[in-house]
Subunit: 204 residues, 2 copies
Amino acid sequence: MTASLKAPLDFYFDFSSPYGYLAAEKIDALAAAHGRSVLWHPILLGVTFKATGLAPLPAIPLKGEYSLRDIARSARFLGVPYRKPTVFPIPTQHAARAFLWLNDRDPQQARAFGLAAYRAYFTEDVNISDLAAVLEIAAAQGVDRDALSAVLAGAEIKARLVAEVELAMARGVFGSPFIIVDGEPFWGADRLPQVERWLAESGF
Amino acid sequence: MTASLKAPLDFYFDFSSPYGYLAAEKIDALAAAHGRSVLWHPILLGVTFKATGLAPLPAIPLKGEYSLRDIARSARFLGVPYRKPTVFPIPTQHAARAFLWLNDRDPQQARAFGLAAYRAYFTEDVNISDLAAVLEIAAAQGVDRDALSAVLAGAEIKARLVAEVELAMARGVFGSPFIIVDGEPFWGADRLPQVERWLAESGF
């Protein structure tokens, strides 16, 4: 038995992105069905918006109202639970930094934290912009709360997240979810069927 | 045999919109499979962009480059021929006005003209912002060239298109393609699977 030479998928997401949440619930199983693993990369849409001149969905006339409807419908379409958070969008630095720190040490635990944070925000209306909420969710996944709290108070993890977002943009990432498969970029939860075909046919 | 009481789908599109073109190649058959007809409504994205503050795709950093790739890939995904036009995007008033005039008189002929104009632009690189090109395409569909030419030179059809776009925006339309099914709005060629399920299940 030899290790697979196939590259993992890169999955970029913002914890405040509902379409990112929908993709997060699907991407690992989709990749696994084609013998692929996934690298999860939290980003900050606030930073990419500055580069692209784009704005958060709710701020856009007509499109904002449509999006709220489309998010809920897309969740039903994909069979993913969803409840509109009271506060949306939110800043997600704490969650993103926590994810990065965990991911360096235990990707499985980071994944569990990431999904738990997404579900807390998008199904239980927990405002995960709060540091306390992030620590609570992490602790529930077995994370050392004091250690994480100390890390999140430091400068190092802040610089790390900045660099991660810069790298993502250098790879062309401008939204969430954004998936890169063997160099091919896919933006949006609605591109999962194309990702699936790409994996099945090694491109099309 | 009684007439169906099911409402037709409303299909909004800009002749310069590649995703509108992809949807145009699919929407009638999709609707027909569920016993529905489609009303085609040409709009002008330049007008909706003013209302939403959005910009044409190629003008947006990162997203613009991605979109060119996504358009070509989405065409392959849907099995629709596509060649990137040399000039993109373009103003499409002439084509939209011609469509409206034809559609009042012969929806079947308008449909044939609309598909022919889309295919000329997105597979043969014909710049359909030119009045002459629009007249040529219409004539090839059996349209009286002189009559159409006279209509397009008049003020009435211009005011009509303005009013049509205003009405579309009053219904929440902000992009192309935009499909409304029994009051439910769907934006994007990538929402066709959701439209299909909506038709099959009378909502979901």
